[in-house]
């Protein structure tokens, strides 16, 4: 059983020297190291040499390096400014560094739409597969940094446990031996008036209904009420994924990993059979991210 996150929780940090040479590692912040380690591990698991595309969703990008460069500017006053933090501060440094280490010349994209960054990456990954690409590396990642962005104020919730995370996946065009589940669809909906209507329409477009979904992994912002979610899907199916992820804008990627674990490790402790899981990301009230996953046969 997973342990819920609390204020004493610490980020799990692998030995990055296994994945990244020292001369490359020295310039990398958290978000880059986490992502590269995940990406390389994914390739190994999928037993592929190279991905055809690399797509990353990150809301805040390389914010530690951004803060570092702001510090350098302040410290230098009128004198010369040290350049390293600047060159690794762009949001796409993550996807770019993965490509550099993998010597990957394929399609490379970075989405930065706060809580929808990961879902947009997934929408793109699905589009890539529809266009004929075989293996797409896709991930969601953000690092905690509390001097340039006030997440508590933005989410109007002082109680959130801000943290960092990275989750990467290989999305493939064809079924393979290592393939765990079916990624049915993903959707990103911004400035939505009625999130429940939007969710029901999304499910309809995928030939299913709220009633037929077996488990809903959800994130709601602090002030939002759980009641409507309960009435649409049923209270017994709902699980708040932020209890294990903590809060960062791309934590729905972690929820997708959690969903894959649920679908691949049956029977489930509570439900007889889990055929479909919906990730319902409503972290920012007016934005809705949806990820629909099913067992291989769905």
């Amino acid at each position: 059983m997973t342990k819920n996150i609390d204020s004493s929780s610490e980020l799990v940090t692998p030995d990055y020297s296994e994945f990244i040479p020292a001369m490359d590692r020295r310039r990398m912040s958290h978000v880059q190291k986490m992502s590269i380690a995940c990406a390389l591990d994914c390739l190994q698991q999928a037993k592929i040499e190279q991905a055809d595309a690399i797509i990353v969703g990150t809301s805040m990008g390389c914010c530690i390096n951004t803060k570092n460069f702001l510090d350098k500017i302040l410290d230098a006053k009128e004198g010369p400014v040290s350049p390293t933090s600047f060159i690794v501060s762009t949001h796409n440094t993550i996807a770019g560094q993965i490509a550099l280490l993998m010597k990957n010349h394929g399609y490379n994209m970075t989405y930065t739409q706060n809580s929808l960054s990961y879902e947009q990456s997934l929408v793109d990954a699905i589009l890539c597969c529809a266009e004929g690409l075989m293996n797409v590396l896709v991930g969601g990642t953000d690092e905690e940094e509390d001097s340039i962005y006030n997440m508590r104020a933005r989410l109007k919730d002082d109680k959130i446990l801000e943290t960092s995370g990275a989750s990467f996946f290989i999305v493939s065009n064809t079924k393979s031996k290592t393939g765990a589940v079916n990624l049915i669809d993903a959707g990103s909906f911004g400035l939505v008036k009625n999130t429940y209507e939007t969710a029901v329409e999304f499910l309809q477009a995928n030939n299913t209904t709220a009633h037929e979904i077996d488990i809903v992994l959800y994130a709601l912002s602090g002030k939002s009420s759980l009641n409507e979610l309960k009435s649409v899907f049923g209270a017994e199916k709902l699980f708040d994924y932020q209890e294990i992820t903590g809060t960062y804008y791309t934590n729905s990627a972690f929820a997708m990993h959690y969903a894959i674990d649920i679908l691949s490790n049956q029977p489930h402790p509570i439900f007889a059979e889990v055929k479909t899981v919906l990730v319902y990301n409503n972290l920012i009230p007016e934005n809705l991210g949806l990820i629909l996953l099913g067992t291989k046969n769905e």
């Binding site: 020292a22 001369m23 590692r25 020295r26 310039r27 230098a76 004198g79 010369p80 400014v81 040290s82 350049p83 390293t84 060159i87």
Partner: protein, 88 residues
Amino acid sequence: MAQDLKYELKKQIIEELNLEDMNPEDIQDDAPLFGDGLGLDSIDALELVVLLEKYHGVKITDEEVGKRVLASINTMAEFILEETSKKK
């Protein structure tokens, strides 16, 4: 004195370039800093130029001068001593 300066340079380089697993003792005075030696790159070269100005008050304004001066710890120390004595 020159030895102290070289030791100081090595410490500053390790810190500014974030060479985590290194100690000053690991850098030879005459070892090439770029290419096959320490393996620094063009961004590191820019950092070394900043380092020289920030910590030692000496400026490199020419690319050719830069290539010569930044070749090794020895050449960097020589440059600092030369430029500093010019100012006196």
